[in-house]
Assembly symmetry: D2
Homo-oligomer: 416 residues x 4
């Protein structure tokens, strides 16, 4: 069957994963009268892209695009997030959110180039990802039309469970890999993997040991610690040194992949939480973020040495939570993201130096830090033993002035 | 020598530690013509209070007060900090800051009762503690007069090093314990111990293994994890259950001490940072905060299940950093602390439930959480598999409306 | 025609205004098979309620409820907003938003009492009010069902303009008042009136002089100023004194209505802006907020005298914008509103005293303020001429300590 | 007497005003053995600079520098403040604070060039200005030494009142202008004038009509309004058009001075408040800020039309209060100011367009606004009458999704 001859409704660029869901969506869209092209983004997930291309073509896709976005993912999304210490609800490092902008951007570029009036994706109607993809689509290409089958009654009423999808796959001769479906769903990229749904929906169920895929269990990690040094320029990692292995790694992507390898071996980066989705639903998620966890510890530590107190305080109190929420809520392509990224860049000029780390069974332990170019830290001035930098008498005045307001208040309150 | 007959300048209540510094201050104040009473606060530090009382009296103190403040420290200071997830500069749990208000308050109460016009302390002129103690003093008793010898030239120029203090101690017959002085200084209470100064002043020097006092090195901690359940009511811990040991602990102080014991055994709560002191100096500090680290993980996790997203977001973005900074800067007795504590209490009404934890070699791992009284989490609603709670079509409208503003912006920017 | 016998779909409580739109909605709902009861909230708008009741009954309403909500509007919504200095986007005093919660709450109470499964309103599908009403409905009565005809294609496609409504009114024998429709729409209550749409949609069109309804044009206001004193307790007005008229007004509602009268006479409270609606659309609105404008000036002035600097700063920086946004976005019945209202109340304990004002041709001019119970202001201490309260030498230390950090930065930057 | 031959302590650059205080300081510094150079900054205050130069030289200054800083004051300090809508405690436009950085910077430049080891000023020990000047000095030239006579006991104990200064002036043959001293003190520049101290220290005393210097009393302003148009580029004014006078003004300084003239004639910009000084004292101040008041109204209005909602919200909630506080507290030369100014610039890219204003007896009334380059405002989209841009059905989904969280909360609370 040639899609070109029968498609009457226009051309769709489908974000395709190679799995059962998006293969069925692909076939269903063709059935509905669309020409369908498939788009696969390589953001570092474990995937047989060649097999997926064959499968997509077999299902009737007129073209299939596989795009390697790993480097731009690391350099454009992950490293600014490291600079900003982004974190959602105090714990989650935003691995899914960070990948969405690069995926959506390339999809829109291809949609524009290939004259696709439509894009489609396999996100459900209850999650965050539908929002993240579509807000990015609309910002980047305001005239794009989105087909979200899991929000279309004709689709979701027809496919009410895996059984219905398998039956449709059989009908359409879509090959199905005979693996036992895991009792949870995952999303993977080079920054993290997420686990949710299925047995995880009960927030009091401990994830089974064999669920965790990227990292070794801390209990099974080596008994001997690994020691590395990470060098930062303007808040971004530029070198990792592993002296015991006589290894130096440079290059944005290369550094990240090397840290991933070390973190995975040492059981670093697991998380199990209940979080608040953008649409107002609480949801349980488990995550592994190996390299991201190391970089967060190292970057925050270096900021202690090299970043001014007030800049840090302002960045922490405003920019970090706002930028983190914005990423989570899918608003990376927005005027406010531009605004916040200008502030993030402005905050990192002095964040230059090295952090020495020990990695051990889930722990990322700072063993020291230094900076050649930055002299905000002054050993003599902070010394309790040396009279340097200022007179202790000055502290007296500092405290007395601070106390003026509190004394007035105390007089009113008569606290004792 | 009777202080009563020779003191002509008035009565001082000295915050006394039993160590060399405050013993010399005690003798020096008497030499200057003051009557001196000594005050020792028991906030859970390791200390031989009986020996200290004898020593103080031997030095000429007319009275010595030893006050057990452990319970009020835990219940009035630590647990509200747990409720607020207080943290300074993203990493430090504020152990020294949290103890200061209870210590200062009792000192002012005794000063009022004993008609002391003066109080004195042994804090240096470069640190945070002088500020914390004195702002508390002035707020609680605005007419108090403070003698801070380490800011008085006549004192600090006379005692320029340990040698001068030892000579003075010999002259005044102050007994000196013959221990080798450690190459750092510490401050200890039941919440934490801090290490700073000395060899730690070089931020690239790794603390020696034998420095850490409260916790076992994670590398030396047991190879078998410990599992516990912590129950919270309105954000405060009310019970700890250790099923394998058939142990249940209740009572604010008792819970805290039991968690300390478990955390110490499992190498939990070490920290090594460069922080910004209130007076604008960067300073390197190492800390051990055993129970506080466990409680932070557990409380934040339970908030995921039981706290509304917007309340959490507002509390996180404003109350937590403001209250943390305020504690660090010694402004607990202040109108703004009253204001923030009202907000903290208002935020915790729904934070009820249990968290199950695994403690293992420095890690605090959440294994599950539940809440009997709270139904903000709805398994069916968050399920990706079940159509429940709302129609996927609603998400379509939600996204479309969110996109209006971004489309307008995108049209202006022509991003693709 | 008896609604009781023919209505098969259930009972609706319609928010009824007496105008053409909601009268047509009333008739249309009956036509669709619903029993309809009407609800009119008196929040101080100019309205012939008796005529509206007759009209609603004539259209087929089985019951009509007219509820006087003026006092609860002032005391529960307006005065907390005065305490918080609420303002949207720096200029708008939120008059429409403030009325919605009291209107929606009574509607839900009646819906519950009268066993109405449905409620309905006449809000359009592009504005803020649909959001405000419905979020309140759902929070107060989560099982309520909402019929919003202007979002139902069968309705809005049938009634595409005023002509269609008039034709339907004629068909249903709905009496239509023969006034020329104004080229803008309004929403009025005792706090304010809003004007939008029609000729105002061009943001560069100056509103015609005869549009403004509540206030006299400042150019036409009296040439002689009016002077009053407003007394506040905990941030709420408790008395207004007009000495020249030998008049004292007390009582929450009475004070508000009296200030409205004075403000209207003196041309106070006009505003013309472009604002951002919740749904992301920019919209031009004109407003008159007479008493609210006076109270804002007076309350903020008294806070200068009576509120601690840090509490003010925290409240200004966080609570005021968050609470203002929340009101604008219709989230008054929410956990975060409860949280913020606790903080607002905590902030106002010391805001007690009097403010003397001059009202003149659009200006609200403060002429003095005083507080009997509050002594945070200390004339001697702030005097530049008197050495009181603290030593100037203390300021030296204060500045020196503040400069430590800046000197370090300056050394790095070499600014000169 | 030649200062050059007798000065043994080094060279001082004194910030000199030409008045009694700084003339006495000049003579006193020479008496103490310093060589003194004088520095006068022209920031638009009313002053006879030529007479002051003669006076300073007569008192013994070895050099006198008069520097015209008006243009850099307007362009580097005032316009970024307009962009940020800076305001202190909700009402004060920061006129004194804004002038300090340009004054201090030139003083440090001259001190460096002329090899002055010292600078001196006539600020009191209780005010904000000592902090503002000295923090700027120390940041710009960390090794500068500051002589603040009003904080030196030898000085302030000798000169306890105006009488002592007059006696010293007579002794030193310093000419004194025979004007009656006003019962308040002032600080003037082209942005504003401040009045404080003296009779104003009682916050309930209405300022006398003849105190106000820059603006006409609104009651005496013209009965006919003045109409102007202000054009902005990236948030800064670039043109003022007065059509009735066929006048167009361009140039940063020229625009500001022209707006000052119009505002003064129309009684615009008076303020009377109690504010919180940096050092924690409450203080009463009266201010006239003519052009600044017009520009604030116009700029905020244009942002309504041209600035994205989220960027505005973030800027308002964080950048504006932080930058305002920082200016007030004298921390313009700081890393955090650099950080905030980067954010301010990033926020203003789209703030381009015109605002039409009516000036009338103290009122600044917006009559319309437009923007040729910005299309965030969409007349059709915001129209209540037109179905454009999006479907009303989308709003339904938007509201439903927003309500999920609130329904859950409502079910728990059972509000009705």
């Amino acid at each position: 069957m040639s899609a070109n001859t029968t498609s009457t409704k226009g051309r769709v660029l489908l974000a395709y994963s190679g799995g059962l869901d998006t293969s069925c969506i692909l076939a269903w869209l063709i059935e509905q009268g669309y020409e369908v092209m498939c788009y696969m983004a390589n953001v570092g997930q474990e995937e047989d892209f060649d097999a997926a291309v064959i499968k997509a073509k077999g299902c009737g896709a007129t073209k299939v695009f596989v795009e390697d976005l790993q480097r731009e993912f690391v350099e454009e999304l992950i490293y600014p997030a490291v600079q900003a210490n982004t974190i959602y609800e105090g714990v989650y490092l935003l691995g899914t959110s960070l990948a969405r902008p690069v995926i959506a951007r390339r999809q829109m570029e291809i949609a524009a180039r290939e004259n696709c009036q439509y894009v489609s994706h396999g996100c459900t109607g209850k999650g965050n990802d539908q929002v993240r993809f579509e807000l990015a689509y609309y910002a980047l290409k305001p005239d794009i039309k989105v087909i979200a089958p899991w929000r279309i009654p004709a689709f979701y009423e027809r496919f009410q469970g895996r059984k219905d999808l398998l039956a449709f796959a059989a009908e359409k001769s879509i090959p199905v890999v005979q693996t036992a479906a895991k009792p949870w769903s995952t999303d993977e990229n080079l920054f993290h993997i997420s686990y949710e749904a299925g047995i995880l929906e009960d927030p009091d169920v401990t994830p089974p040991k064999d669920m965790w895929k990227l990292t070794v269990d801390p209990e099974d990690a080596p008994n001997t610690p690994e020691r590395i040094t990470i060098e930062f320029e303007q808040g971004k990692p530029v070198k990792v040194i592993n002296a015991s292995q006589k290894k130096e790694v440079t290059g944005g992507l290369e550094i990240f992949l090397y840290l991933n390898q070390l973190a995975r071996q040492n059981g670093i980066g697991r998380l199990d939480i209940v979080e608040n989705r953008f649409i107002g639903i609480k949801s349980r998620g488990c995550y592994e973020t190996p390299a991201g966890t190391i970089l967060r510890v190292a970057h925050m530590d270096l900021e202690g040495l090299t970043l001014d107190r007030q800049v840090r305080n302002m960045r922490d109190q405003f920019v970090t939570p706002q930028y983190s929420n914005l990423l989570y809520n899918g608003q990376y392509f927005s005027p406010e993201a531009e605004f916040l990224l200008a502030a993030i860049a402005a905050s990192q000029k002095t964040v230059n130096g090295e952090v020495r780390l020990k990695l051990y069974k889930g722990n990322v332990i700072v063993e020291g830090r230094s900076s050649k170019t930055n002299n905000l830290y002054d050993m003599e001035e902070s010394s309790m033993d040396v009279q340097g930098g200022f007179s202790p008498v000055d502290s007296e005045g500092f405290i007395k002035i601070q106390s003026i307001r509190l004394k007035k208040w105390g007089l009113n309150k008569k606290l004792i």
